[in-house]
């Protein structure tokens, strides 16, 4: 097995773990943790493809990963702000109890 295939398999495993966490947990913050894990797995793919690409000096995959990290940070800030706001209104972070959009 080539090194790139190993990294891709690890990234696929981390993506699946994150997806399982996002789909099975009740707590909204744990769902966000699962989404962060999925984004990180995608970043690992980007960096691995950059490292084993024929022209790494073009920096395409590296730039993609850096911008992806910045966008993930913005997503985490807004997502956690939403969770705190919902907790203030509904006094719960349990997704099974969040079944109304009206406050």
């Amino acid at each position: 097995m080539t090194p790139l295939a190993g990294y891709l398999l690890v990234a696929a495993l981390m993506f699946a773990i994150g997806l399982a966490g996002a789909l099975t947990r009740r707590n909204a913050i744990l769902v966000l943790i699962g989404i962060e894990l999925m984004l990180n797995a995608a970043n690992l793919n980007l960096i691995a493809f950059w490292r084993y690409s024929p022209h790494p000096e073009a920096l395409t995959g590296m730039m993609f990963a850096i911008f992806s990290i910045a966008v993930a940070a913005a997503e985490a800030a807004v997502g956690l702000g939403l969770v705190i706001s919902i907790h203030r209104h509904a006094h719960t972070t349990d997704l099974d109890h969040m079944n109304r959009m009206k406050g």
Partner: protein, 166 residues
């Protein structure tokens, strides 16, 4: 495939698994930090020094701390009595397993076309900086705008609205 790669991926996967499986939410956030650190070390193993240290700064330094703050602000550290998994957890598990099966199958099928060991790329942080303000300056500005908008938006969304409640 070196021993270092196996150790680092075992660390990252173990951190991710415990972040998803543990009952106490604070323990989940700490396990998530371990997973982020494992991924940052994998980036360093891939000769991507800048991305590795950016991962440590942004994820361990900012996102993990933000998640711990959110857990403590929402009193999410108390384990709920009716379990931590949602009602249809089996469907989610099946979907995740199916996604991993498809991805793993695709990687293993195309493994012989993937490139073998290549030379270490001679890319320095200086090259990345020049590219960021040269060829990639427009995406950089857009990301700066996005980060500003997201920070202001997060503050507005999470703000107390006492004057409206009166």
């Amino acid at each position: 495939m070196s021993l270092v790669f196996y150790l680092l991926s075992a660390l990252a996967v173990a951190g991710a698994l415990s972040a998803v499986l543990l009952k106490n939410t604070v323990h989940c956030a700490l396990a998530l930090t371990v997973a982020f650190a494992g991924l940052a070390l994998l980036f360093l193993e891939l000769d991507a020094q800048f991305a590795g240290f950016a991962q440590i700064l942004v994820y361990i330094g900012a996102v993990a701390i933000l998640i711990v703050f959110a857990i403590l602000l929402t009193r999410g550290s108390e384990t709920p009595k009716d379990g931590v998994y949602s009602r249809n957890w089996l469907a989610g598990l099946v979907i995740a397993a199916a996604v991993f099966a498809v991805l793993g199958w695709a990687v293993l099928q195309s493994a012989w076309t993937l490139p073998h060991e290549t030379a270490v790329p001679a890319v320095t942080v200086h090259d990345i900086g020049v590219a960021l303000v040269g060829r990639y300056v427009l995406p950089l500005e857009i990301v700066a705008l996005l980060l500003t908008a997201a920070t202001i938006g997060a503050v507005i969304v999470a703000r107390h609205e006492k004057e409206e409640a009166k």
